[in-house]
Symmetry: C2
Subunit: 299 residues, 2 copies
């Protein structure tokens, strides 16, 4: 009888599952809806099971969730209550819940030492050195995640108010953003007061777009953001002795490199595989008896 292993990559918009045999070969995949264990754990459980069944079906197998061991990489895994609630209700033989960052690291750098920086609406950096995982930044928008999409968008709104007040020169970027608020700074303030990180992040593509055209304010904002990323990467390099693969992941990963310090830009490489592949690999390692590195991370 063949043993199968499940990897799950679950987040706020979708849940993806991959089924692999004990050699780690993926034989089926499935996708379902949101699996946010913090805001709606029951729906998350439903979608985790649904994506898993679809992976069995794609593999040409009768779905038998109770027979498999799984590793789930879930956003929000740092909140103990939610994890305990979900873990107690999972349909699998055995299961481990890790952070979305841990499966992304495994996918991107495989079993070797190395590090990733996830730069999207937020930022987090994860390094593996001699098998140990270390997490840097990722504390969220309010007091961390310098250089994240949310922070860049916030800086862009701030910049347009500075320009409105003639504290900074008015540039095309500030003019374009102010125009989106009907030219009224009060509208910017009203928006910012209630804005969530993702709301600020919606202005970030504009910053990259105008920086490419040479807009001084946009370039200044990106330099500020890049300094935040560079400093976090320096901390990561200290942890890893600058050895192994270094990958940027997340929505801003393709955009940031031209603005980063050369010492980092020159070390960046493409991820080996995606986070779902990382989750499957961890499932095989954790439960397959394969010689592997057990995921350990903050949270």
């Amino acid at each position: 009888m063949t043993s199968y292993f499940l990897g799950i990559d679950g987040g706020g918009t979708s849940c993806r599952a991959a089924l692999a045999d004990s050699a780690g070969r993926i034989c089926g995949r499935g996708k379902s809806g949101a699996s946010n264990i913090l805001t709606d754990p029951d729906t998350a459980l439903k979608h985790i099971a649904e994506a898993s069944r679809l992976a069995f079906v794609e593999a040409g197998l009768e779905p038998d969730l109770a027979s498999v061991c799984a590793v789930l990489g879930l956003a929000g895994n740092n909140v103990g209550d939610a994890v305990n609630y979900v873990k107690a209700r999972l349909p699998f033989a055995r299961a481990d819940i890790v952070s979305d960052g841990v499966i992304a690291l495994q996918g991107a750098i495989g079993d070797e030492d190395g590090a990733i920086g996830i730069v999207g609406t937020g930022t987090v950096f994860i390094a593996r050195h001699e098998g140990r995982l270390h997490s840097v930044a990722g504390w969220g928008f309010h007091v961390s995640d310098l250089g994240s999409g949310a922070r860049l968008g916030q800086l862009a709104l701030q910049e347009c108010l500075l320009a409105y007040d003639s504290i900074h020169p008015m540039t095309d970027l500030s003019r374009a953003i102010l125009a989106e608020f009907a030219g009224d700074p009060e509208n910017v303030v009203d928006f910012a007061r209630l804005a969530k990180p993702g709301d600020f992040g919606r202005y970030t593509p504009k910053v990259f777009e105008y920086a490419e055209k040479g807009d001084a304010a946009a370039i200044h904002i990106l330099k500020t953001g890049a300094r935040g990323i560079d400093e976090a990467l320096d901390a990561v390099n200290t942890l890893t002795r600058s050895t192994g693969r270094l990958c940027l992941l997340g929505g801003l990963a393709p955009l940031y490199p031209p603005y980063l310090a050369e010492r980092h830009r020159n070390r960046l490489s493409q991820p080996i595989a995606d986070a779902l592949t990382g989750a499957v690999a961890l499932a095989v390692q954790t439960y397959g008896g394969a010689k592997g590195i057990r995921a350990e991370a903050r949270a």
Copy 2:
């Protein structure tokens, strides 16, 4: 028969009133409770009337609110609905509601041209040039008020997380702040997620205290804040052609000067009088037939 004029300085913690004769001589003062017209307009109205009656009493006069003209400097005066609600219910013969900044300006620089910077939990800069008022910054914590107490406190919390992650060196300031959160960065994050500007601002005295002891992180934070203040003062100087009195007011006014650019530090002078005195002066100017400058400002 003598005409009397009332000045009111109302805010979130107290309401102060001063009664003056037509020459602007203050003959009585009164103080009551909070007068926040946004959050509790009815209580604000009650406290405005109470402080006014006490000013009559101190002047040895029978309270006769319906006989006086008043100028009220109130925080939250930029929200039209609240102003209209309160204005329609004031007990005075005639009354004008202006911002707290406008009465502070009048008190600090009198009738001449000049400017003030109010640096407290938030910041706002008001300049008068050839009789016209101009407001700079003051859009609030989320996308403005660089260098404000709220921003400095937020930077201090951010700095202690950067130090925790070894992105920046751990200094005494970061160690002290982290200790207030039981050494657990999660506690910092939880606090920051719900913190209001005043909550962040509570960490600001610590920043000045440690900067004075030479703490590198504290000095860096204050330099960042001071750059924000310097740039706003540059914008103010452009408006005023660097003429007239320049005063810093607010809780951080005594602390900031050593960190400001020399070009600003050398121009700072003490305010002539306080905001309440400014409100009375504006009441006499506005309603007393005296040759005066009518307050006009954004909002």
